[in-house]
Symmetry: D2
Subunit: 352 residues, 4 copies
């Protein structure tokens, strides 16, 4: 019953097998190998256009390098107040961007509100006194487990375009989002105005593999050097490429994500049936559950693992009742239906 | 009728005379001169304790070097959403701090609200995932022309101390604040818990001179190198020291500030008498006036200079009526009562 | 016959098996797991004292984080002109160190010459005008395949200590050095004055695993945050820890290194016997061979892989004859005696 | 007899008068004033083409902002080992450039040797492993008081152009160089291939004023923000502009420089006549004198001020004899012939 994060799971067999299969003979390092070439081609195919892709070992460095590359050092990135880049990267975007500034925006369901974005942009005093707004960054699926619809993305893209800003997508859980939306990756990214995507594979199953994808290869000029200088160029590169290749092969990434999403839905349905619907809509693989202190104690005693969640703001009309807490439950490719059912039984024993 | 900023004024005679007087013979550079020694001694005397002081040419670099020095590179500075460090330094604190993060806090009258500060600190996930809160920065007097009382500063200092954070004071208008409070500089700074002060002289009259003051000299170790590396060490240092020496001599800084504050009060009283009280309390040398579009047009036609002001949030119950705008008026040592009266007459012609 | 680098080899079975073995069930991320705890304990045991260790995915980020942590941002690192940190990290140390400066020193056999170090230190004008010398960084084994003796390290440590500098060791090939020296790791590091070690496992066999080791844990304060902010904290941390655990288990790291060194010696002996002794002493796993253009052509035609080498300076009295070139040959755990013999036969056909 | 530096002198009357004259009434800050507009126009006129110019308060920040702007963060600047940017800016270029790397080159008379430059460029392993060479920076006149001839600059410009590098000129003593060369500023800069110039006025007489001049305005895009973010935008900008305006007016800068150069020549001729010719050619306003320890003692006792000089390398065939030292003597607009003659008499009493 480990719902602490999707990175507490291990590695699904196809990806581990790919690492083993890649362990034959010699291969030049730093990306000069066939696995890397194949992944680059596969990504262009997946996104239905020629892209520039750079594999790196962590989501934090994927986001940070992307943002640093899309913005001048005196620029600003507009992001949601709950976003990972804002809260959980220990200042990495600011660091990699040479002093880049993150401007945090509130919004329901961890999604940037177009009106709020417009207002914030209007309040900037303008260069040179004020940072130059350069990038809008959205997380897909969001940190609260919701998913931007195509029209929501398009609305933000329109504002970005009108102000000459780039649009970046933190896709640490991109698989979960596409599985939820059921559309083509191209539709959910560049066709709707996204300029660059941090395409995560780690939370989806890989050992450690993320791809920074630029939909306009010209935007990527110099990224090789920035990545190397950022200490994010893996020398035995065939192994990070092999992971990503297996992740994409036969739509494994989507199959694993659909499973994770289904487990989240199972959990969510069970909690709702017990009279405790999750705090935010469950559209991907995260469930924010309201549990009584007693239920929390029983679950932890039974070995369940999950984190309490401190929200910036709750949805209108919602609150955490006395004697209860708010907790984040994350499902993954490894979550079994048994685990979900056991959790539900312990959380709400009176529920059949 | 130039109310655009306190930096649109020139240099009061005593300070210009001091530059001229310092222009005798030779002097070693970089601070190895008698003027600098005297200023350092004078500052320790003024603050009633031994301080470490570093003269630099701009307020932006004074704030940025101070914040960078008080925080590790993965640290965060908590400041007001309207603060100069947050809005008007083009990311300089983030840059000088090696990726330092600024966390903006709302609060009435441009003052940080202790409850908001406490809440924000509680929401940080903790190192290493989250930036390490390291500094609280307050502006005194604030960007909205208000002044923190000693007990307000003490309340924030208490929270900072309890969380091992440093307390920095952006004193670009420190003179105006002390003139308003009528207390000793030591009372308004270290005795109330301030660790470092960016003591501004430029807005108060100097050509270009700011002092970074550390109340605990040990906190300043390495600052000489940081300043030099930051390109902020003036070679003909006697001239920046002579400005600061003259600024402090015979309490010139307070006399000039009292005058500026008195002009602001005159302006404020006149506007209130006309039925248009300023938007925020006038406690220093800034007045945020509500003017009708017609008044604005008349004033500009008459050559008045001032900037419109876009607020993050207005005080409760206040609003800018239709057909009106909100404008910032800043007085300085150079503001004459005539200018104020002329402004009032044009703004509100029906008022005698 | 792949002698291009030790990172062109794959992963030895014990390490790959360890990754597979670690792929059981769930584990909290970011280092909060049993594998990581065991590796930290094992490192303290290996170095015969309590150390602070941080696992990261690349040698570049290991060096850069270490140097950034040992030096203030206005500091300087003294290193050899041929060092990896100086030549092959694309400015990563300067970047991670917030503008840290690298001062390159010449010296025979890629080793820093104590007299040169002393002279360079004496020539620095001193803070604040000049960078503050903060760290001496040596590579062990060096980029030219030589190994510092304990007394050579001690000589540099003495100079560093007398000037209050830290001593950092880039141990990307630490295994090869210890295998060559035959002494205990503690002897070759902290007992001889080394303050921090970038202990590489990747070139020695791991998929991607390096450990930054601080011999005085107090020196490591804040490194968790710096690593996270540097995008170098692996989320599925058990897998990087499992690699390092297997690397150290039963002295695998030394066995693999001894083999690589033996293959280099075999190669070196063969070349010397053919009348073309390597350019620099072969003390670890690198051989700098002088090959005729014809031999180079034959070898490449036969599929051998290796890089030409452009030297800053050749040893006294040595030169690359006309019609010849200088090439770097690197052996690894995967190098077979057959490959070496085949290389020798093709390089020098008249040799039996 | 103060020969410590050209920044130990004060401010010549025309420049101080200009500051006083500018102290009339109000003026918008940050460069939005008439003095600044006039200086920008005057610079375009002086350089016989439209330039983009940015006034800043120190030479260190002028160089650092220029280099940071001409290079990507993973770039490298090739400069002379004796250069100010390399030795005397405490890592400021590296800092402002986000980790920019300085590659130091040896060369006679503090001038970069084209052959050495070419060799160094050839030795860089190439992106992404190695920094990307981006800028060649020369100091004119050099730190050793020599002056690059137009053909010497052209030779370096040719190499730079062939490798797509920018050519930057540190002109802290540009006036002294032009006075020495007797050519037009345009000839000595962009017509010979210089892309950007740090045009110093401080050493030449200003209180604190330097201009970063881009000969191709397109290269300057974003510099306003970089300067503001670098804390180098003076708010009471009319005063820094007034200094530069007076410096250029009626060729004051050249007149002052000619005087300083003439004083250096007087000193040099006197020393040569005494049998102790300076160590390096005296082509501008610096004289590197060999003085006996006795002469040094006499001079200091008589109140003379100057610094000892530690050279990286002496010219071929030259050495500092036993019982002697090498000292740097710098003349300025303020140096009087009397001071020079007194110095010579005390240094070499047997000379009439």
């Amino acid at each position: 019953m480990n719902f602490a994060s999707d990175n507490t799971a291990g590695i699904p067999a196809p990806i581990l097998d790919a690492i083993t299969a890649a362990n034959e003979g010699y291969s030049l390092g730093y990306g000069n190998d066939d696995w890397t070439k194949r992944v680059e081609a596969r990504l262009s195919e997946l996104f239905e256009r020629e892209v520039a892709a750079f594999l790196v070992p962590t989501g934090t460095v994927a986001n940070s390098l992307a943002l640093a590359h899309l913005s001048p050092p005196w620029g600003a990135v507009l992001c949601h107040v709950d976003s990972h880049v804002n809260d959980d990267e220990s200042g990495a975007p600011e660091f990699f961007g040479g002093g880049l500034k993150l401007l945090e925006l509130p919004g329901q369901n961890a999604k940037i509100d177009p009106a709020v974005l417009t207002e914030r942009l209007s309040r900037l005093r303008g260069a040179p006194h004020s940072v130059l707004p350069s990038v809008v960054s959205i997380t897909q699926s969001t940190e609260l487990g919701t998913v931007y619809s195509l029209s929501e993305i398009a609305a933000l893209a329109e504002i970005a375009r009108s102000r000459s800003l780039k649009l970046h997508m933190d896709g640490a859980r991109f698989g979960n989002a596409i599985a939820s939306l059921g559309c083509a990756p191209a539709e959910a990214t560049w066709k709707t105005g996204v300029d660059a995507l941090s395409f995560g594979a780690t939370k989806g199953g890989a050992l450690a593999a993320e791809a920074i994808v630029f939909f306009n290869p010209a935007d990527a000029a110099g990224m090789s050097s920035r990545r190397k200088r950022g200490g994010a160029l893996i020398s035995k590169h065939r192994f990070i490429a092999a992971q990503f290749e297996a992740y994409l092969k036969d739509d494994l990434w989507l199959k694993l994500a659909r499973h994770a999403n289904a487990m989240a839905k199972r959990l969510s349905d069970g909690l709702s049936a017990a009279g405790e619907p999750p705090m935010w809509p469950v559209e991907a693989n995260e469930v924010f559950a309201i549990l009584s202190n007693d239920a929390d104690a029983r679950l932890r005693k039974a070995g369940a693992a999950y984190y309490p969640w401190q929200a910036v703001a709750l949805p209108e009309g919602r609150k955490v009742p006395q004697g209860h807490g708010l907790f984040r439950l994350v499902t993954s490719f490894a979550t079994r239906a048994d685990d979900v059912d056991a959790f539900l039984r312990i959380a709400h024993p009176t529920k059949p």
